[in-house]
């Protein structure tokens, strides 16, 4: 059984593709995340605001696409994103958000 994860592609008002992720990301469902990102061409905004858990397996997927993604997250994920250095490679929004 994989961890519950909802991936919702969308397009932002400015036309940039967006992927809204809800649930927890761990090694059991990173393939789904990876597929979802890879099926989207061009710049992509990842909305992780509703992600309750993100570990290194999930991070490694994100690291593969740092050149074209921007991330929206909350302070809950801040330590992981900052410690891993992902926040330095890509634009992360909303880390101050509680």
């Amino acid at each position: 059984m994989t961890t519950l994860l909802t991936l919702t592609p969308s397009r932002r008002p400015d036309g940039v593709a967006q992927l809204t992720v809800v649930g927890e990301i761990d090694m059991s469902n990173t393939d789904a995340l990876a597929t979802a990102i890879e099926t989207t061409e061009g710049p992509l905004v990842l909305d992780l605001t509703a992600v309750e858990y993100l570990d290194s397996a999930g991070l490694s997927v994100l690291f593969r696409h740092t050149d074209r993604i921007e991330i929206i997250a909350t302070s809950l994920l801040a330590p992981v994103l900052e410690i891993s250095g992902l926040a330095d490679l890509t634009t992360v929004h909303g880390l101050d958000t509680p």
Partner: protein, 1385 residues
């Protein structure tokens, strides 16, 4: 330089130099020197100083020479020319001195140099110089002085030598010294050899005049033998040992025999390599001089090697002759001395014979004289009571009169024969008859001596002329002699005719005569010393007289004898009268009585033991004892030793009548035995006795400590002070010379007995005491030798006083080889005896018959008052029985102790084996228990020893013993074993004693006893083991749950050992709804009784909670239950129900101390609500309930009063202390905290009451196990998140922990389980007050992270490390564990 007579005259005349005028002759020769050619120039130009010097030289009568100028030109005067210069004159004049005295320049040159350089004169006395002045190199001696000569300016330019030649004096003195030394032998008496040796020593001191000498002496055959050598090595061809008489040898013997001196040139073969003596070159000539004997041929000759540096002048020749004369005189005196010596020795031999004669005759005369004088004296005092005794004494006088007469007669016969005055009367007799008659007189004596007497005298064909009186003496002397020296066998007399002779033999089977003694057998006064005989009587004249008498008859007597077998005397008398002087012949006379036979027989009978004479006298009657010293109830016992029976009897009678108890013995050996058997008060002994004599007896008595103090009075026929001193020196107490007066003897005996009694009183008393001791008594000397023992000693050890002293190592020591330990014990004790002033010890010893004894000895050091030496006096007791009894008892006690102390069967067995090992000092002790179908189990004093380690032989033997009868010891060469019952089967105990240690009967008995005890002990231990196991099982059953829910920790300590339960209890009861019932209770009392109550209450409480989970309800029901159980009343109980997820706690307390809740913020709260009375105090009454919430990371402590209640301290103080203890352990895991609290609150000497303690920390740690599958990550995360919520942590902290834990789990799943998927991963999380610990463990092995290949995994570990404060990854064979901590305060 040329010399010309004419020129000389011319110069003297022309120069007019009066410088040489002082001596006409030498002056003229000086003037003749061509001075102009010398360094000095013409005399006219000589400086005044030179002229003056020459003038003085020439005018002096002293022998002088001088040297002047750069070449040291030579001058001399007339005296020097005459004495020294000799043939060098006048050649030497005007020549350089070094040329003139070239041959001695090495000697004098340096001296002259010294004078010239220092200006100081030299002085030499008697300097040896070899001069060439007489045509050969000549030994000369000069005393001279070199003085400086100065020129007009005062500078030294020459020297003057004043010379005195001393050759004659030096050599003369040297020769005189040799001659003087030759005559200076300090010894008075010299043998020829000594004379020659001394002379050689003196001659060798003068190797100048005598470079070598040889002394030859003529032998009887005229050949010469080398008798002395000086200066020549042994074996030189010039010094052969012998020179033949014909003169063909090296030296001209023939000429010397005639007494002429010969000069021999030492050329050629035998003389090469001769030594040079003190000279550079060997002699060229030798002088050979005869050693002249006054009025006879020379003794020999002296060869003297001659000094080649001196002419053989009259003086030298005279010296040699005097030397030879000295030697001859010395030899003459030595030879004459030797001759005198031989004469003196011959005279001395004669003297010795005489001395022997007189000393013998002295003894023989004086002893009978004593025996005559003694009785006569007694007779004089009591002639009145003329009774049987008087007659007896008269009989003695008679017998000794006979004997003395016989002796005197014999001596008279001798003197007559010697003087040729023997009046013989030869008459024709039937010699067989006469001889047989004479012999038969001796029959009774021979029979009495127990000897066979064979008289074989068939008639002869014709009569023989004999003097009857003389013949009688011949036969009787021979028979008497035979009887005296024959102790068994036979004596025989035969008469035969052979070759015109009557041949009479007297044979015996006696002691015989040794080969060395045979030639002197018939010598007058010769006695064979130390021969075993019936009597020491005899003067040694018997056989000599016989020979003389046989000789008077024209006959011969010979003896042949074999020592130890017997002697045969053979007399041959010619038939007829041709050999006898005709005037001494007489017609036959019949009926002539045997006149002297009686004396011989009487004497012989006295040598034999006489049954009629009681050797031991009966004790005297009171009346007879009147003469004895008063005050003694026991008469003194005297021992008389004398080989003369009459003397024995006389002394016995005399002393007996004086009131003494008298024993008599015949010689020294018997005396010694008698004294050793029973020491008398006094010994009276003759000095001269066969075998051991009186002096020997005294010496023997004195060397034996047991008899050393027995007083001895010696009797001797030898008069004189020396004899008595000899006796007293030997150790005799007194000395009497025969003849002595009876009164004197009695006085001496009485004095000595009194003295000895006084002296011996202490000693005898001591001896009596010592012998009466039941303990063994001994005395050791300084070296440890046992020198005295008593009867008990012999009884106990079997060693008798006969073999004293016993030197260490004493024979009763245990053998060092077979029993080293026992030997060592004795050795130790012995060193104690030698070194300590006193002490006591118990040691094993060996009886003479070999059996083992134990003795306890006590000893003290003392000082021997006589010698001042250290002795050790000791006693000992036979404690063998005690020893073994004690050994058994103590061994049994020790074993019993071991068995009692043991808390289990194996411990009991191990202890017992150790005890056996120490008891027997065994190498090892083991016990093998047979187990069916398996190899036996082994317990041994060597802990590691197993059955298979034993040698096969030993295993077989042990196996065989399993079936042996019980408790019967077996032993073999290596040790001993015994079979006993073990609760698990048959057991063999084996004691390995090592090599050859005896295992005695006592040991076997002991082993049996101990084995029996061991069997009982093991059975008991086994029983106890079983009971204890039962009890433990029961106790554990009533104590409480063995598994606690997570988060709980408990401790229980019963007050009563060895019980593991008491009146207190704790309980946790998982309830069906997930809550947990918690109970801590305390019954009144302690020990087993309280425990039984507790067990019931605990079970009841547990059941009630399961039925109705309200604590108050439960306690109210328990009130009723407890009311029905004796001893349950007043039990206090805390009963609660906890929701582990929320920490909600409902509780009720039945009089129990309040629970303590320690908050994470450091505050403490008491659970003091819901309180009511103890159980069954008010049954039926409602009980209140309290509630509280246990906050996250708070700790709850429930306990019984044993934890906090102390005498003289309020309970609240204890409760506060408990709270502090819990707070102090906030960071500890809950189980560690339980230990800390128990330790922290424990009184110094331990808890004296039952203690139960229960801790709970909220929330309980999270423990999860899940399959290594990624799908598990979400549920695990959920559970962990929920537990972290219980811990009430901030959301970010929770998130960090979740990510770190997730990474660890992901790693465990991904890497730890690639090989074994599905194996569980374990996660544990535990919160403490300030700290959270998380552990993820798998059973796999992680790979070293390789970030470039697997970046996100490497990132995982980095995340863990970043999110947690401490991360430890431990990877091992069993798996990998990630241990993470983070602060959560």
């Amino acid at each position: 330089m040329e010399r010309s007579e004419d020129a000389a005259h011319e110069l003297v005349a022309t120069a007019g130099a009066d410088v040489f005028a002082a001596d006409e002759e030498v002056g003229r020769d000086l003037a003749g020197v061509d001075w102009a050619a010398t360094a000095l120039g013409p005399p006219g130009q000589w400086p005044q100083s030179l002229q003056t010097a020459v003038s003085i030289l020439l005018s002096s009568r002293f022998s002088m020479w001088m040297a002047w100028g750069p070449e040291l030109t030579f001058f001399c005067n007339a005296a020097y020319r005459r004495d020294t210069l000799g043939g060098k004159y006048p050649w030497a004049l005007g020549r350089p001195a070094s040329e003139v005295w070239e041959e001695i320049w090495g000697d004098i040159g340096p001296r002259i140099d010294t004078v010239l350089t220092t200006g100081e004169a030299t002085w030499d006395e008697g300097l040896l110089l070899f001069l060439e002045r007489s045509g050969y190199t000549e030994e000369s001696y000069h005393t001279f002085s070199y003085s400086p000569l100065r020129d007009d300016s005062g500078a030294v330019v020459g020297m003057l030598c004043v010379v005195i030649e001393e050759t004659e004096r030096v050599i003369g003195e040297r020769r005189m010294a040799t001659l003087r030394d030759l005559g200076s032998d300090p010894s008075v008496v010299r043998t020829e050899q000594e004379v020659l040796a001394f002379a050689a020593q003196q001659l060798s001191n003068n190797l100048r005049d005598l470079p070598f000498t040889l002394t030859y002496l003529f032998g009887p055959d005229g050949s010469a033998h080398l008798a002395g050598v000086t200066g020549l090595p042994g074996g030189h061809p010039a010094a052969p040992d012998t020179l033949p008489v014909d003169g063909s040898g090296v030296w001209p013997v023939e000429m010397l025999t005639r007494g002429e001196s010969v000069l021999v040139a030492l050329d050629g073969a035998p003389f090469t390599g001769l030594p040079a003596g003190d000279w550079p070159e060997p002699p060229t000539q030798a002088m050979v001089l005869p050693l002249l004997r006054q009025g006879g041929a020379p003794y020999g000759f002296l060869v003297a090697g001659l000094n080649r540096y001196r002419a053989l002048d009259d003086a030298y020749r005279g010296f040699l002759e005097l030397t030879a004369g000295h030697l001859a005189a010395g030899i003459a005196s030595a030879r004459s001395y030797e001759a005198q010596q031989r004469r003196a020795e011959e005279l001395a031999e004669l003297d010795r014979a005489k001395t022997t004669f007189f000393s013998n005759i002295s003894h023989e005369f004086r002893t009978p004289l004593t025996l005559i004088m003694g009785p006569v004296e007694e007779l004089r005092t009591r002639l009145a009571g003329a009774d049987a005794r008087v007659r007896e004494e008269l009989e003695i006088i008679h017998r000794n009169g006979l004997r003395l007469g016989k002796l005197v007669n014999s001596l008279l016969d001798f003197s007559r024969i010697e003087a040729g005055r023997m009046q013989a009367r030869y008459e024709p007799v039937d010699l067989s008859q006469v001889t047989a008659d004479l012999a038969s007189v001796f029959r009774s004596a021979v029979d009495k001596a127990g000897l066979d007497f064979r008289i074989d005298c068939p008639p002869l064909p014709e009569q023989v002329y004999v003097d009857r009186g003389m013949w009688e003496k011949v036969i009787l002397n021979l028979l008497s002699n035979a009887l005296k020296f024959t102790f068994d066998g036979s004596i025989g007399v035969t008469v035969r005719a052979r070759d015109e002779h009557a041949v009479i033999t007297v044979t015996d089977t006696g002691i015989g005569v040794s080969r060395e003694e045979m030639p002197r057998l018939f010598e007058r006064f010769h006695r064979i010393e130390n021969a075993r005989s019936r009597s020491n009587e005899g003067s040694g004249i018997g056989l000599a007289l016989v020979k003389e008498l046989v000789g008077l008859h024209g006959g011969t007597i010979t003896a042949d004898s074999t020592e130890g077998e017997g002697t045969r005397f053979t007399i041959r008398l010619p038939f007829g009268t041709a050999h006898l002087p005709s005037d001494a012949l007489a017609p036959a006379e019949d009926g002539l009585t045997v006149s002297t036979a009686d004396r011989y027989v009487q004497e012989a009978l006295r040598w034999l033991p006489d049954e009629a004479v009681a050797e031991t006298r009966s004790p005297v009657t009171a009346a007879e004892a009147s003469d004895q010293a008063p005050g003694h109830t026991v008469p003194a016992r005297l021992l008389v030793a004398d080989d003369n029976a009459d003397m024995r009897e006389y002394l016995a009678r005399l002393l007996h009548s004086a009131g003494y108890q008298v024993d008599t013995v015949k010689d020294g050996l018997e005396a010694l035995q008698a004294v050793r058997a029973h020491a008398p008060d006094l010994v009276i002994s003759d000095v001269m006795m066969p075998g051991l004599d009186g002096l020997g007896l005294v010496a023997a008595l004195r060397t034996d400590p047991r008899t050393a103090s027995v007083p001895v009075v010696l009797l001797s026929a030898r008069a004189g002070q020396e004899a008595s001193i000899e006796g007293l020196q030997a150790g005799a107490d007194d000395y009497l010379v025969k003849p002595f007066a009876a009164a004197e003897l009695l006085a001496r005996v009485r004095a000595n007995v009194e003295l000895a009694r006084l002296r011996n009183h202490q000693a005898r008393w001591r001896t009596a005491l010592v012998d009466s001791l039941q303990e063994a008594f001994f005395v050791c000397d300084e070296d440890g030798a046992v020198v005295e023992i008593n009867a008990a000693f012999t009884d106990i050890l079997g060693y008798a006083p006969d073999d004293l002293p016993y030197q260490p190592i004493h024979p009763w020591w245990p053998d060092a080889a077979t029993d080293p330990e026992a030997h060592r014990q004795v050795e130790e004790a012995f060193s104690q005896v030698l070194n300590d002033p006193k002490g006591s010890y118990t040691i094993p010893v060996t009886h003479r018959d070999g059996h083992r004894l134990w003795v306890t000895a006590t000893f003290n050091q003392a000082q021997d008052p006589d010698t001042g030496r250290k002795v050790t006096v000791g006693t000992f007791r036979d404690v063998t029985a005690e020893h073994y009894a004690i050994q058994r008892k103590s061994a049994q006690a020790a074993l019993s102790m071991r068995l009692t102390q043991a808390t289990s069967l194996p411990e009991a067995l191990e202890g017992a084996l150790a005890e056996l090992k120490s008891l027997w000092r065994a190498d090892c002790v083991l016990a093998a228990v047979s187990i069916p179908d398996r190899q036996p189990s082994v317990t041994a004093t060597e802990a590691e020893l197993r059955w298979e380690d034993l040698p096969a032989e030993r295993r077989d033997r042990l196996t065989a013993w399993f079936d042996q009868s019980l408790l019967t010891p077996h032993d073999d060469d290596a040790g001993a074993g015994i079979t006993i019952n073990h609760p698990e089967g048959s057991m063999v105990v084996w004691i390995d004693l090592g090599d050859q240690r005896p295992f005695t009967g006592e040991d076997q008995l002991l082993l049996s006893l101990l084995a029996g005890q061991l069997a009982q002990g093991l059975a008991r231990a086994h029983q106890i083991d079983q009971q204890r196991e039962t009890a433990l099982a029961l106790q554990r059953a009533i104590l409480g749950p063995s598994e606690l829910p997570e988060g709980f920790a408990v401790r229980y300590e019963p007050a009563t050992q060895p019980l593991e339960v008491g009146g207190d209890w704790y309980d946790t009861i998982p309830l069906p709804d997930g809550r947990i019932g918690i109970v801590v209770g305390d019954c009144v009392g302690r020990g087993l009784e309280a425990a039984t109550v507790m067990g019931q209450l605990r079970s009841a409480c547990r059941a009630l909670l399961l039925q109705d989970s309200s604590p108050a309800q439960t306690l109210m029901a328990l009130d009723h239950f407890a009311a029905g159980i004796p001893g349950a009343r007043c039990t206090t109980v805390f009963c609660g129900v906890l929701s582990p997820d929320t920490g909600q706690l409902t509780y009720s307390s039945a009089g129990h101390p309040p629970g303590i809740l320690a908050h994470p913020d450091g505050t403490t709260r008491l659970l003091d609500e819901g309180r009511s009375v103890p159980l069954a105090v008010r049954p039926g009454r409602n009980r209140p309930e309290g509630t509280c919430t246990v906050p996250a990371r708070a700790t709850l402590l429930l306990y019984t009063d044993g934890l906090v209640e102390r005498r003289r301290r309020p309970l609240t103080a204890g409760i506060d202390q408990a709270g502090e203890a819990v707070q102090a352990g906030r960071d500890a895991a809950v189980d560690d905290l339980a230990t800390q609290v128990m330790a922290r609150l424990a009184p110094a000497d331990g808890y004296d009451d039952d203690v139960a303690l229960l801790l709970y920390r909220h929330p309980a740690p999270l423990e999860m196990a899940f399959p290594a599958e990624s799908s598990q990550l979400a549920p695990v995360r959920k559970a962990l998140r929920s537990w972290l919520d219980q811990c009430e942590l901030p959301p970010h902290t929770v998130q960090n922990i979740l990510v770190a834990a997730g990474e660890a789990c992901a790693n465990a799943i991904e890497h730890g389980h690639r090989d074994t998927p599905g194996n569980p991963v374990r996660l544990r999380a535990e919160a403490r007050v300030d700290d959270l610990r998380l552990t993820v463990a798998d059973s796999g092995r992680w790979k070293t992270p390789q970030p470039e290949l697997n970046t996100h995994r490497g990132r995982g570990v980095a995340l863990m490390r970043a999110l947690m404060q401490q991360v430890t990854i431990t990877s091992g064979a069993a798996g990998t564990t990630v241990d993470m901590h983070t602060r959560i305060a």
